[in-house]
């Protein structure tokens, strides 16, 4: 719903976007905010009794990994939806499509993993929703900037050789975030 309404607003304002950079910026902004909205709730539901049930049931590593998988799938759905809507309503200026989809995949994955741990941290406090945004935005920016640069290059139709560095950086960032969450989450869980 969130995605559809924002894309529709963008469509009403621009009707058709000539410039590549505007298109890409809008797409990532929509994905970022829709994704944040979606995954803020991912830990809030577990603050009550369910929390203790899970606690007795399985290890914290299993929980954070499953949360990340769930968030990743959710955000991938969101970004796929927004990409399809963008293409339908605003046209598709991307030249190198396969590579762009890969960038979209990696970028969304990066956003979702950062959001998972941030919302886990924020769920331990009282003002959950605001804090998730405050905590996650600065550490998401590296991923986001790399993804935007890479999608610009794909949009211009450049090939694998030119985007390689950015894609590797995105993959590396993903890996770092996943490993860190895996190591650090048990300490959060214990409290």
């Amino acid at each position: 719903m969130y995605v559809i309404s924002t894309v529709f607003v963008a469509y009403l304002i621009f009707s058709s976007i000539e410039e590549l950079s505007t298109w890409i910026a809008l797409l990532w902004i929509v994905i970022l905010f829709a994704g944040t909205n979606a995954s803020i709730n991912s830990f809030r539901k577990e603050s009550g009794r369910q929390f203790y049930y899970y606690y007795s049931l399985c290890s914290p590593q299993a929980i954070i990994l499953s949360k990340m998988v769930f968030n990743a799938l959710l955000l991938l759905c969101i970004s796929a939806l927004s990409y399809v809507l963008f293409t339908l309503l605003l046209g598709n200026p991307i030249e190198n499509l396969n590579l762009f989809l890969l960038v979209l995949f990696l970028g969304t994955l990066g956003i979702s993993t950062v959001l998972s741990l941030s919302s886990a941290i924020a769920s331990k406090t009282n003002n959950n929703a605001t804090l998730t945004a405050i905590l996650s935005f600065p550490i998401m920016l590296p991923t986001l900037l790399t993804a935007i640069k890479a999608s610009m290059l794909c949009g211009l139709g450049l090939g694998w050789e030119d985007c390689q560095v950015y894609l590797l950086t995105l993959a590396l960032l993903n890996l770092v975030v996943i490993v860190l969450s895996y190591i650090l989450f048990p300490y959060l869980w214990r409290s």
Partner: protein, 218 residues
């Protein structure tokens, strides 16, 4: 003598200020005398990174031992680091105004420093929203480690991939190249050491104050 490093910090700082303003510097187009800012602007960032690094070390110790004293250290190191970050931004901004003609430009390194500040302000906000001490210590430590590692990846990789006005990128030589002559090195390296020592000193004073406050509450 236990406090020899504080004496060393004072002597080195005096040396930095006197040497920084008086020792001859190479004449460079555009830069001219503003090159002396090198002794103040660059060490600010070095000290900031050093303080944040020490803070992360204390956060790791806190997670492994659950002792509150490490949490206090981590907190005050971050606070001191933020002061140095602000000073670094101000000196950099003044330098940019005189060499590039603007207070702020859209540039990888400048954005990196802005993101750094945002991350640590978020850390302060996170601490502010938690009341229970043990819980706050653990959660803040988790965020501190998480943010610092991502930050290292960010400032370690991204600036190397893009062009930049800032020295050290995109064809602009860094300060370790030919434009830093021996005279400048003689001042620059002690300056770095001096500012780091000063940062450490301020942080240790703040840590002692926090500890005293903590004790008086108990």
């Amino acid at each position: 003598m236990r406090n020899w490093w504080k004496v060393a910090a004072i002597i080195l700082l005096i040396y930095t200020v006197i040497g920084g303003f008086l020792v001859a510097v190479p004449k460079q187009v555009i830069l001219y005398e503003s090159i002396r800012n090198l002794y103040f602007h660059v060490p600010m960032w070095f000290s900031m990174i050093f303080l944040f690094l020490m803070s992360v070390v204390n956060s790791i110790k806190n997670l492994s031992s659950n002792e509150l004293k490490y949490d206090i250290r981590a907190k005050e190191l971050v606070n001191t680091g933020i002061i140095f970050g602000i000073l670094g931004t101000i000196t950099g901004s003044i330098w940019a105004k005189f060499t590039w003609g603007a207070w702020w430009v859209n540039d990888v390194k400048l954005n990196g420093s802005a993101i750094t500040m945002l991350i640590y302000l978020a850390y302060v906000v996170l601490r502010g929203s938690l009341d229970d001490e043990q819980k706050r210590a653990r959660i803040a430590a988790v965020y501190n480690i998480f943010a610092f590692v991502l930050l290292l990846v960010f400032i370690g990789i991204l600036p190397r991939m893009t062009d930049s006005l800032h020295p050290g990128n995109g064809g602009n030589p860094g300060f370790n190249n030919y434009d830093l002559d021996n005279n400048m090195k003689l001042v620059f390296y002690p300056a770095v050491l001096a500012w780091i020592l000063l940062g450490w000193w301020i942080a240790s004073l703040k840590i002692r104050m926090s500890n005293l406050k903590q004790n008086s509450i108990e």
